[in-house]
């Protein structure tokens, strides 16, 4: 049991990255519009996040330095500050969307307008950040998020033609109803969701919170290799559900309730209950991940004490930043802004800032003074990581033009 709970950090991080509020809808929308022709992007993305999350966790375990420490040390204060502002802004947008997402998932059961639930959700998120031990938090929300596996069960129960399904994955093409640009735009959105920067902020800070040392390097690897592929699997299952159930009926997805439709129609009541719990846990987990990351990045850039392993009185400014981020997201959420649109934009924007976060990780993971000679990257890992750095640069250059050309993927 302890072994299973040991991967909670990886699972929570990955769920928050792959199937948070915006991604739930984006995945289903992709499946309904492009069938499985974009599934390969999720596969490419999950390898990338595994490569970099493993490095960030290893560095954190060996020298106790989380990602945003490295960002300032290796990029210098100026680029570090640019990254800080971009990351904080993206984090804030995502947090807004997640809080609204939690409210939406509760409103499906409580039949109260979700706007009215936003303040309650914001207070709950703050309370968990303020009081709940990190370990308890990652276990509760990581494990409850696994209820989303009901999407995989749904695909299996539908019993699709696996050859056809996997054929689309292996031989993707642009459907004739869509333009090349919108195909590329959705590809970037999926890739950005897989590699959102707050995943490594949260994962590496969580490694410090959980007190990882050299002894925990295997645990780091297991967390990465179980957590992120699981997140990708959920993401693909949601896509496949939409492709199999929604696409034939010409349903375009732009709401959370439509995402759950295939599960409800195929698995029935129990399925619907599970999926609502799963969505609640995933969005709540992502809200915690982004709220805490807001505190992590600011505190680590400025050298303040941070983290839940201290009591709030020993990380005072950190807790103030977290609380302010939540309060800001609450106010922004109350304006009734569409949470789906907000995350979609934030994911695409974050794709533009990716290289600034991942480059320092790669440099430090090769620095023996940080990780010790025997734990620096091997040659093949460096080759793979460098290839991904090139992809990240290309993606970040293409992001803004594509956003303009496709008018946000519409």
């Amino acid at each position: 049991m302890k072994k299973i709970l040991g991967v909670a950090l990886g699972v929570l991080t990955a769920i928050g990255g792959f199937v948070d509020m915006g991604d739930l809808v984006a995945n289903a929308d992709t499946g309904a519009r492009f069938d499985m022709n974009l599934a390969w992007v999720v596969v490419v993305g999950v390898v990338g996040i595994c490569v970099y999350a493993e490095m960030s966790g290893r560095v954190a375990a060996l020298c106790g330095r989380p990602v945003f420490d490295l960002v300032r040390e290796r990029l210098g204060p100026r680029f570090g500050l640019a990254n800080l502002l971009a990351s904080f802004f993206i984090n804030f947008l995502t947090l807004t969307a997640e809080i609204a997402g939690v409210a939406l998932s509760i409103s499906l059961v409580a039949s109260v307008d979700y706007i009215l639930l936003i303040p309650l959700v914001a207070i709950l998120v703050w309370l968990v950040c303020w009081r709940m031990p990190f370990e308890t938090m990652e276990r509760i929300f990581g494990l409850l998020g696994l209820c989303l596996l009901v999407f995989a069960v749904t695909v299996w129960k539908i019993g699709p033609d696996w050859n056809e399904l996997l054929g689309d994955v292996a031989h993707p093409h642009v459907p004739h109803t869509e333009s090349v640009y919108s195909y590329a735009y959705f590809a970037i959105a999926l890739f950005g969701a897989a590699m959102t920067p707050y995943e490594v902020f949260f994962f590496s800070s969580g490694a410090v919170e959980d007190g990882w040392t050299e002894k925990d390097l295997t645990e780091n690897r297991i967390n990465v290799l179980v957590g992120f592929p699981l997140g990708a699997l959920l993401s693909l299952a949601i896509m496949a559900c939409a492709h199999l159930v929604l696409a034939p009926r010409n349903i375009e997805v732009d709401q959370l309730s439509q995402v759950m439709l295939p599960v409800a129609s195929v698995v029935g009541r129990l399925g619907l209950a599970l999926v609502i719990i799963g969505v609640f846990a995933a969005t709540f987990g992502a809200a915690l991940e982004t709220a805490l990351s807001a505190g992590y990045v600011v505190a680590q850039y400025l050298g303040w004490p941070w983290g839940k392993y201290h009591s709030p009185r020993h990380a005072t400014r950190f807790h103030v930043v977290v609380a302010l981020a939540i309060a800001g997201a609450l106010l922004f959420g109350l304006t009734g802004v569409d949470p789906v649109k907000v995350t979609e934009y934030s994911i695409v924007l974050s794709a533009g800032a990716l290289p600034l976060t991942y480059f320092p990780i790669l440099v430090i993971a090769n620095d023996a003074r940080y990780v010790g000679q025997e734990h620096t990257n091997g040659r093949w890992l460096n080759v793979l990581a460098s290839i991904y750095l090139v992809i990240l640069l290309a993606v970040s250059a293409a992001t803004i033009p594509l956003m303009i050309i496709t008018k946000g993927g519409s």
């Binding site: 020298c63 040390e73 204060p77 303020w130 370990e135 007190g211 400025l302 983290g307 839940k308 709030p312």
Partner: protein
């Protein structure tokens, strides 16, 4: 001053995390103080750290001075008897230089910690539950 260690200032020192004698995080290396000896060699004499210093280093001199002054006024710093100023840490007090720099000083004596204390006194202290540890099994590193 013979036998100094050779360090690459930008790579090994600038922007590193500082930790005090009780391993508390207490700011970053915002800037360095260098002195030239009669032979023309340059020695590192102190680590500079605290409000305004980073802004000053980044070329925002007026902002830097303003931040430093604001911090001083806000905290009404009493006369202290430490062998260092509140933003200047002599390099002799750096016990270990690695991925983080360990100092033989107390965070409470550094200007970089003033806001942390102010935030406690004015905000955190008034919220219930501020003393509860978030986790049981971790020692700060």
């Amino acid at each position: 001053m013979a036998g100094g260690r050779v360090l690459h200032a930008t790579l090994d020192l600038l922007d590193r995390q500082l930790r005090d004698r009780r391993f508390r995080l207490c700011g970053n290396v915002d800037d360095l103080e260098l002195q030239r000896d009669p032979d023309g060699r340059v020695w590192l004499t102190a680590i500079l750290c605290g409000p305004g210093i980073l802004a000053y280093r980044m070329g925002r001199r007026r902002l830097g001075l303003w931040l430093e002054e604001a911090n001083r006024r806000l905290h009404d710093t009493p006369e202290h008897h430490e062998p260092y100023e509140r933003t200047r840490i002599p390099i002799e007090l750096a016990r270990q230089i690695g991925p983080a720099i360990e100092l033989a000083v107390d965070a409470d004596d550094l200007a970089s910690h003033d806001m942390e204390r102010w935030t406690f006194e004015h905000i955190i202290r008034h919220i219930p539950g501020n003393a509860a540890r978030g986790s049981s099994n971790t020692t700060p590193r």
